[in-house]
């Protein structure tokens, strides 16, 4: 892909994925990995950052004799996600003005 994925975009994608369903690190990474070219160690710092900003919280669920750490979006996280979505619409609009203009 010609365009790099910035940290802000990753934050937004993770928050959006978590707004539908709580999930754990591996699954998050695999979902992201399906469509974006990110390495498998990409999400650890992203999750750290989002958690320290209180956009995410975690809880552990026992699974096959060990714990799975699930990530859930907080109210602050949802607010942030809305902010990201608005920003994205504006950003996309500006780029579209160039890329999609026929004149």
């Amino acid at each position: 892909m010609s365009f790099p994925i910035t940290a802000g975009l990753l934050d937004a994608c993770v928050l959006s994925m978590l707004s539908h369903d709580d999930t754990y690190g591996y699954e998050l990474t695999q979902k992201l990995h399906e469509s974006l070219q990110v390495s498998e160690s990409t999400l650890y710092p992203v999750l750290r950052r989002l958690q320290s900003s209180a956009f995410l919280r975690t809880y552990d669920v026992p699974h096959q004799g060990r714990n799975r750490r699930y990530y859930a979006i907080t109210d602050d996280g949802r607010a942030k996600l809305n902010e990201f979505r608005e920003d994205w619409d504006e950003f996309r609009g500006r780029i579209d003005d160039f890329l999609r203009s026929d004149s």
């Binding site: 990995h33 160690s41 650890y44």
Partner: protein
């Protein structure tokens, strides 16, 4: 590299990090590899997924040391062809975040180094700030050693140049002086040949002797100049070799 070996290596490579930062990272990647192993068909090559433990540890450390500054996202390695170089993925620099309280410790039971399970530990951003401060202090301490050495070296080479230059200049001055004297004596001698023949001959003789001395000194100047240029070139070459060797050796 199998999962447990990988985590042991990662634990080793993460030493030097604060205890909670280390545990959080180990817990996350311990869980991650356990999940990967559960879904993998056959043997799991942990370093093919996450890159070498050292690289991953360096990434984690960098993220923590950089605190909350803006991270950069590196693209993923191209899709695996099956038997790629196990160190290839994950060698990129990674996003950066400040240390949050309590990252997953879920898979801690799979970590050999006795990491407590399920207890999110607190990590303060102060610790990482201190890390940056220490790094800067160390860098500042390291600079004054290198800079005066370089200045001294440059000063010595410069002094050598000035000395050799002065020597060559003085020789050149002597040669020119002899040449001027020889020409003047010759002219005066020719003039006096018609007025006072004997004195004229004396002057002509002096002119020839001076001319000879001029040629001798000229040859000395020429040889010395060649020697100087060769010597300086050799010296600079030696210094260059020493410097590049010193850069190569410690790494």
């Amino acid at each position: 590299m199998d999962r447990l070996t990988y985590l042991t290596e990662l634990t080793k490579a993460l030493s030097g990090l604060g205890a909670s930062d280390r545990e959080n990272a180990l817990a996350y990647y311990g869980e991650y590899l356990a999940e990967a192993e559960a879904t993998a068909e056959g043997e799991l090559d942990a370093s093919a997924i996450l890159g070498s433990p050292r690289t991953l540890a360096a990434q984690i450390k960098a993220d923590i040391a950089m605190g909350d500054s803006e991270p950069t996202i590196a693209p993923a390695p191209l899709p695996s062809t099956g038997d790629e170089n196990p160190v290839a993925p994950g060698t990129q620099s990674e996003p950066i975040g400040e240390a949050p309280p309590g990252m997953p410790a879920g898979a801690a039971s799979s970590i050999p180094a006795g990491v407590p399970a399920g207890v999110p530990s607190q990590s303060t951003p102060k610790k990482s700030e201190m890390g940056v401060v220490w790094t800067v202090v160390l860098a500042l301490l390291a600079i004054p050693v290198g800079v005066p050495l370089a200045i001294a070296l440059i000063a010595v080479v410069f002094a050598l140049f000035v000395t050799l230059g002065a020597l060559l200049f003085s020789l050149a001055a002597v040669v020119v002086a002899f040449l001027v004297a020889a020409i003047l004596c010759g002219l005066v001698g020719i003039y006096l040949l018609f007025a006072d023949f004997v004195t004229g001959l004396f002057y002509l003789g002096t002119s020839l002797v001076t001319m000879g001395l001029c040629i001798l000194f000229g040859m000395a100047f020429w040889q010395l100049g060649k020697l100087c240029i060769q010597g300086v070139a050799h010296l600079l070459n030696t210094i260059r070799k020493r410097l590049t060797q010193r850069e190569r050796n410690p790494s």
